[in-house]
């Protein structure tokens, strides 16, 4: 047995590696977007790809999100596997027409004749001090569109595995990259990247008995921190990382909540009309007789993403999560 030398790696490096391995494995994989070529992307996720695979496979496009995604549709029709980068969350909106009117439904409207294997990488979420339009959590819009897969990694290993899975998927995948985790490091073996994760499975990041924190992407580390802090209160919190919002892993989530009897959904996106409402409803439908308290949500406020100097008040942090958990206990007692 060989011992694997684990090295610290960042999520951005794992993503780059995933793109590179996918391009090397399959000549039909094409990366394109704004600044992805020579510059390597504003987050350097596509660094080196143009050099290694040429401009035709890693292409700097004109500055036009609808054009990028629309061209990707045509390329996918002709047998390519485009991986497009939307530079920032809020700049993907011009491409929504293409996304919703075509990308998500081409398979359906052609009765299976024209599947579109497109991966749409979107750096999303706040916590990096970005100016306006650089911190949106847009996952609810994607989740509300049938035909799209929506995934978001929280660890370096998942970043690699899920991106490989997304690129090899025969369906369009919106791949949400938590910006503030780009530089988070994990022990990882870049020489032997992990197995490709199947899309659609949640994972229990931390087992616990008192309550389940259901979360994903940038809020996973916050929930893990909250779970640690909760030990002082005598609470043993389970943390479920969804990884995939669509398809949704009802099985893992339901099993966890049935064990713990209590649940809090945590995400940065707004609470009203946000992903948490859907998740809370599903959990309630499936676990009603097991629940000791209503499913609570800890989300961003229902406001346009605030200026960076105020974002720490907006983003759900450890205290707000612990407050919610406290309310669960209280409601259980009364």
């Amino acid at each position: 047995m060989t011992t694997v030398a684990l090295k610290p790696a960042t999520m951005a490096q794992a993503l780059t590696r995933a793109l590179r391995d996918a391009m090397a494995a399959d000549p039909s994989v094409h990366v394109m977007g704004e600044d992805v070529g020579t510059l390597g992307g504003v987050f350097r996720v596509t660094d080196g790809l143009a050099k290694e695979f040429g401009d035709d496979r890693c292409t700097d496009t004109p500055l036009a999100e609808a054009g990028i995604l629309g061209a990707a549709v045509g390329m996918a029709m002709y047998g390519l596997r485009p991986v497009v980068e939307m530079q920032f969350d809020a700049f993907a909106y011009p491409a929504f027409e293409q996304l919703i009117s075509h990308v998500s439904r081409m398979r359906n409207r052609t009765r299976g004749a024209m599947p579109l294997p497109i991966t749409i990488r979107v750096p999303y979420g706040g916590g990096i001090g970005g100016v306006e339009h650089h911190s949106d959590s847009s996952e609810a819009y994607y989740m509300a569109t049938p035909g799209l897969h929506v995934v978001t990694p929280a660890t370096v290993a998942d970043a690699y595995g899920l991106l490989r899975a997304a690129i090899s998927s025969d369906d369009p995948v919106v791949f949400l990259e938590p910006k503030r985790l780009y530089w988070s490091k994990d022990s990882w073996n870049p020489d032997e990247p992990d197995a490709v994760e199947p899309i659609g499975r949640a994972v229990v990041r931390r087992p616990g008995r008192s309550a389940t924190l259901i979360t994903y992407g940038p809020s996973v580390p916050v929930c893990l921190e909250a779970a640690e802090a909760a030990r002082a209160e005598g609470w043993d919190l389970e943390v479920v990382d969804l990884r995939s919002l669509v398809p949704f892993d009802d099985e893992t989530v339901t099993a966890s909540v049935r064990r713990t009897g209590r649940a809090v959904v945590v995400h940065e996106s707004t609470g009203f009309g946000g992903p948490g409402g859907e998740i809370a409803a599903r959990v309630t439908e499936r676990c009603f007789h097991y629940l000791e308290a209503p499913v609570l949500r800890v989300a961003g406020f229902d406001i346009p993403y605030p200026p960076p100097m105020l974002e720490r008040h907006h983003l759900p942090g450890v205290d707000r999560i612990l407050d919610a958990v406290g309310r669960l206990q209280w409601e259980a007692e009364s």
Binding site: T61, M77, E97, R111, G200
Partner: protein
């Protein structure tokens, strides 16, 4: 130096990075729409091609009439007729090689049919049956597209992909005059020009976007002029002159196939019918206007040319009409059968593998269908 001397000594020079890019002159469209029929150019036209165009125009006119009639019988939910625009429809289809791709808008059913799509399958979208009734790969016709101009970037992407793969495939994308105001039109034109993609954009300027006339749509000298700003040639053609449309498109296709990049072709035509059968055109246009265009009818123009040159006689006209009648009768007969739809198909093509949620919903619908089939007695509550 005095101030005046200083001023004279300063000769404005271009900023250092500035270089002329493209000479706009060769890109500019002709001042008047190019015509072939009734001019000296007609003598050079391939008579076999003219005959084929004619037969397809007659079929197309009849198809439009039949489809419109089917809306009155409730067999079609809606039909956007291309009566008066058949020359554009037919030329677009006939100009392409088998390996090429056509990207139609919702009005371009006829172009799809002329390219070989089954006339009934071409109507499923408008019938309320499935969104796309045909396999797009069978004839290389993209699904009829209802959101305006969104199919244009697809054409660019497909043509680009084909070129990357070393295939000499050309994509021809159709759009209306109103559609040229959409952002996707701009993005597609720009991508195509930057990538030198083998694409031909055909704008059918039929005067109206539903009720809005061209003058309220754009301030450009012509829609073909829009090409120059992207660095591609713009061509203006008489859209009712099938020979001219075919020739201009053929040049553009050849140019694209040879690696010359995209062309924007504006065909000046007229929408004889209302926007769709559901629209009331009397609210926004005068009858006289329509009458003037009837004298410039695409079938009349070509018929005059062909008969004048002895390429078509009464028997030929009759034969074309009979062929069109057969098409219409077949369409009528097949459209009068109720389509067989399987409700379970609702879940079949959302994802490659249905999600657990969809499987649950499929089971639910199946139970509802079973209960329905069992009738009121069979229903267990």
């Amino acid at each position: 130096m005095t101030v005046m001397e200083q001023r004279d000594a300063y000769r404005p020079t271009p900023p250092p990075a500035w270089q002329p890019r493209t000479d706009p002159a060769p890109l500019l469209p002709d001042a008047r729409p190019y015509r072939v029929l009734g001019t000296e150019a007609a003598a050079k036209a391939d008579s076999e091609l003219l005959r084929r165009l004619y037969a397809q125009l007659v079929r197309g006119r009849r198809y439009n009439a039949q489809a419109t009639a089917l809306t009155k019988q409730g067999r079609l939910a809606v039909y956007p007729s291309s009566t008066g625009q058949e020359a554009c429809q037919v030329a677009a289809a006939l100009v392409l090689e088998e390996r090429d791709w056509l990207f139609p808008s919702y009005r371009d059913t006829l172009a799809a049919v002329a390219r070989g799509v089954d006339p009934v399958q071409a109507l499923t979208l408008l019938r309320g049956d499935w969104h796309t009734g045909y396999d797009p790969y069978a004839h290389r016709v993209a699904p009829l597209c209802t959101p305006l101009a969104t199919q244009l970037p697809h054409a660019v992407g497909l043509a680009h992909a084909a070129r990357l793969k070393g295939d000499d495939v050309v994509a021809l994308a159709m759009v209306g005059d109103g559609g040229t105001s959409e952002g996707d039109f701009h993005e597609a034109m720009n991508f195509a020009a930057v990538w030198q993609a083998p694409v031909v954009f055909l704008v059918q300027n039929n005067g109206f976007a539903i009720s809005v006339p061209l003058a309220k749509q754009t301030a450009a000298p012509s829609l073909a002029h829009k090409a120059v700003g992207y660095g591609m040639p713009g061509r203006l053609v008489d859209g009712n002159d099938a020979a001219a449309v075919h020739e201009v498109l053929a040049d553009a296709v050849a140019h694209a196939r040879a690696g010359g990049g995209p062309t924007l072709v504006e065909a000046v035509t007229y929408r004889i019918d209302a926007h769709t059968n559901a629209d009331d055109a009397t609210r926004y246009r005068a009858d006289g206007e329509v009458e003037a265009w009837r004298d410039h009818d695409p079938i009349l123009l070509l018929e005059r040319e062909l008969t004048g040159r002895g390429l078509l006689d009464e028997d030929g006209i009759q034969a074309a009409r009979e062929d069109a009648e057969t098409l219409a009768a077949d369409l009528r007969a097949r459209m009068n059968q109720d389509p067989a739809l399987d409700p379970m198909d609702l879940f079949a093509h959302v994802y490659a593998q249905p999600t657990t949620q969809l499987l649950e919903q499929e089971t639910q619908l199946q139970a509802e269908l079973d209960a329905e089939a069992a009738g009121p007695e069979g229903a267990v509550r």
